[in-house]
């Protein structure tokens, strides 16, 4: 996927100006997700679950070479063909070969962020293969030619009227068709695709090294269908997606569901061990493509490597007051919101992504939501610091920080400025732009005397 993260501030402002409805749709959806997550966390000892999950993932990552080789061995024992890809180029070559060998004409695809990274759909289309995204939200944005704007809810930026209009144009449904009627139309189109596709493509939520099990979570049933009906299944798996033991799924499946959608478990979980046995329904051939695409670079980073624990649940997006204003599109890459702001610089390099770590108020809500306790606020600061060191940060920031530092280090300058600031008109009188903040709040009145003067008087 093309990276446009450098344009973040401009794109965010443009979106708010030109598509004001997006803010409302995204805010509504994310607050709903966030409410569900909070309720689901309250039901359990969330701190203990998160800490356990963090430790399992840290163990996995610090033994990643061992577990990758174990996973490959187990998968092969069950008849799965394992491929390794450093990036899009190799992934494309592997997929091209599978498409050619099986004469694939039609593909059903389960939602996968990694395949967005790798640009799988454009590749297939260039090969003349028909691709159907089968997650309802993904299907909507595929019809619109847009990238996903949220990890879990790719179409949360669309309001019902947007979708009614889209379906009216595409399928001739009434402009006021109900969500049920619209879903029924999509179901019909996609059911036909499931029954006729030659190849199913998916990602994976987890790959268990001990048993070679691919685990995939969803609510619609499209992943089960995509991995059950076509005769070939290809799963693209990021190398950080492994889990050591099968029973670790008993923690990670419900924890991910609680974090992502507030459910105790997603409606469907597919646990795939390999191709169908003789006389069984299911794909005759299963391929797993283990993909690096920047992950080993991140692993090498002694601070940022912790983001590799990420489960792609989207909880930090839902918790983020900045993401909520725009959704994911202005971030300019597959991963948006707080996790995108710390993951994208690690995967793609800071040069192409440096505005993203600034897309945060550092309020810490993302950390509270994260099921694997990724210290996102700390890492946002790490990336900002690196941006400054490499001369990528906005120049005004450097100037402001240097001036601030000068003033703070000199008692006489500090007194001068604090006196001057107390004499200035208050911001609420100055800036009608701050109305949203000042409304419903009393005016901020600085104390007539600063603390150091009061202290002096007290001592006397």
């Amino acid at each position: 996927m093309q990276v446009k993260a450098k344009l973040y501030p401009k794109e965010a402002a443009r979106l708010l100006r030109e598509h004001p409805g997006v803010r409302e749709a995204v805010t509504g959806a994310t607050l709903h997700f966030e409410e569900g997550r909070k309720r689901a966390y309250q039901e359990i000892d969330a701190e203990a679950w998160r800490e356990r999950a963090r430790r399992v993932k840290d163990h996995l990552l610090t033994h990643l070479d061992h577990y990758l080789e174990l996973a490959e061995k187990r998968l092969q024992e069950k008849g799965v063909r394992v491929h390794w890809a450093e990036g899009p180029e190799e992934a494309h070559r592997i997929l091209r070969e599978i498409v050619a060998r099986h004469g694939v004409k039609r593909v059903v695809k389960a939602k996968s962020m990694l395949t967005e990274e790798l640009g799988v759909n454009p590749l297939l289309e260039s090969l003349g293969v028909e691709v159907y995204e089968t997650d309802l939200g993904e299907y909507l944005i595929q019809l619109l030619g847009e990238p996903p704007s949220h990890i879990v809810g790719p179409a949360i930026h669309l309001a019902l009227p947007d979708i009614q209009r889209l379906f009216h144009q595409r399928f001739g449904t009434p402009v006021d068709a109900s969500p049920e009627a619209l879903a029924a139309v999509a179901r019909k189109v996609l059911r036909e695709a499931f029954l006729t596709a030659d190849l199913g493509i998916s990602g994976a939520n987890f790959l268990v090294a001990e048993t070679g099990t691919l685990a995939l979570m969803e609510n619609e049933g499209n992943i089960r269908l995509s991995t059950s009906l076509p005769r070939v299944h290809v799963a693209f798996v990021g190398i950080e997606k492994l889990l050591p033991r099968f029973a670790d799924l008993a923690l990670f499946l419900p924890l991910t569901a609680r974090a992502a959608t507030g459910q105790r478990l997603s409606t469907y979980v597919s646990l795939i061990q390999g191709p169908a046995k003789e006389g069984e329904e299911g794909p005759k051939e299963v391929h797993v493509v283990l993909v690096d695409h920047g992950r080993t670079t991140l692993l090498h980073d002694s601070e940022a490597w912790e983001v590799l624990r990420c489960l792609r649940c989207g909880a930090c997006l839902n918790a983020c007051p900045v993401y909520r204003q725009t959704g994911g599109h202005p971030y300019g890459y597959v991963y948006s919101g707080p996790i995108g702001a710390v993951l994208d610089p690690g995967l793609l390099g800071l040069e192409d992504t440096y505005p993203l770590p600034y897309a945060s108020t550092l309020c810490g809500a993302c950390y509270e939501a994260c099921p694997v306790k990724i210290p996102i606020p700390k890492l946002l600061l790490t990336w900002r610091q690196r941006a400054v060191e490499r001369g990528l940060a906005p120049t005004w920031e450097k100037g402001a920080m240097q001036a601030f530092s000068k003033v703070m280090q000199s008692p006489s300058l500090y007194r001068l400025f604090s006196k001057a600031l107390r004499g200035l008109p208050l911001p609420q009188d100055l800036l009608p732009l701050l109305k949203a903040w000042t409304e419903g709040r009393g005016p901020l009145r600085p104390s007539p005397k600063p603390f150091h003067e009061l202290w002096q008087e007290l001592k006397e």
Binding site: G28, A29, R52, R55, V56, H59, L61, T62, D65, E72, K78, W84, E86, T134, D135, L136, G137, L140, G153, P154, A155, L158, L160, I163, P179, E180, R187, R191, N219, E220, G221, N222, R224, L225, T227, S228, L229, F246, A247, D248, A250, L253, R264, L265, T267, Y268, S270, L271, I272, Q273, P275, A276, K277, E280, E281, G282, L290, T296, H300, W305
Partner: protein, 189 residues
């Protein structure tokens, strides 16, 4: 060097100085609630229907569901005594009947094996799942620790197919069955 060796060597290089983290033990399952009661409650909360039945009750439940239907698709494990309707291909059947590998109380889940089939679990709009009470585990962890062998695919189903992708309105039966009915059998079929 091929991609695999390059990736693995980069990983080893990256981990050279990194302290190894220990793998925590699985927690001890502590469950006080009656699993059967909890299972039925969770199914209802998930939007599924749960029934506790004996052999006769199972037949009656199936007869009720079968009313007005032309046939059903069956999983391989469904006992002959419960094949009340003529068998139809899953693509056309208005009802799918499966036999679960096990069930989990804490999440309201039935586990379906590829050995029983796949299409009957996914294509018909209504899905009836049969499971023996003795195959009910209190928790996911106990079920997973107890699994001796793994079929080529397991589907964990915890309710009807649903989506809120259209304008945040919950719609059932998007791709999989819009109705999930679970019959928990006391005794044998």
């Amino acid at each position: 060097m091929d991609a695999k060796s390059r990736i693995l060597s980069r990983i080893r290089h990256a981990l050279k100085e990194r302290p190894k983290a220990l793998l925590p033990e699985h927690p001890h399952p502590a469950f006080s609630q009656d699993p059967l009661e909890l299972f039925l409650k969770r199914l209802a909360e998930n939007g599924a229907e749960g029934h506790l039945v004996d052999k006769e009750g199972a037949r009656k439940l199936l007869a009720d569901l079968a009313q007005g239907l032309s046939g059903a698709a069956y999983g391989k494990g469904v006992p002959d005594a419960l094949r009340l309707l003529p068998e139809l291909p899953p693509e056309e059947a208005p009802l799918g009947v499966s036999r679960a590998l096990f069930a989990v109380a804490e999440t309201g889940t039935v586990a379906l094996s590829s050995e029983d089939g796949r299409k009957a679990q996914l294509l018909p709009p209504v899905h009836l799942v049969l499971v023996e009470e003795e195959r009910l585990y209190p928790s996911l962890l106990e079920a997973f620790l107890d699994l001796k062998s793994l079929p080529s695919a397991i589907g964990l189903h915890s309710g009807p197919s649903k989506s809120a992708d259209i304008g945040q309105v919950m719609v059932k039966g998007v791709h999989g069955p819009g109705r999930l009915v679970v019959a928990v059998l006391q005794g044998t079929w």
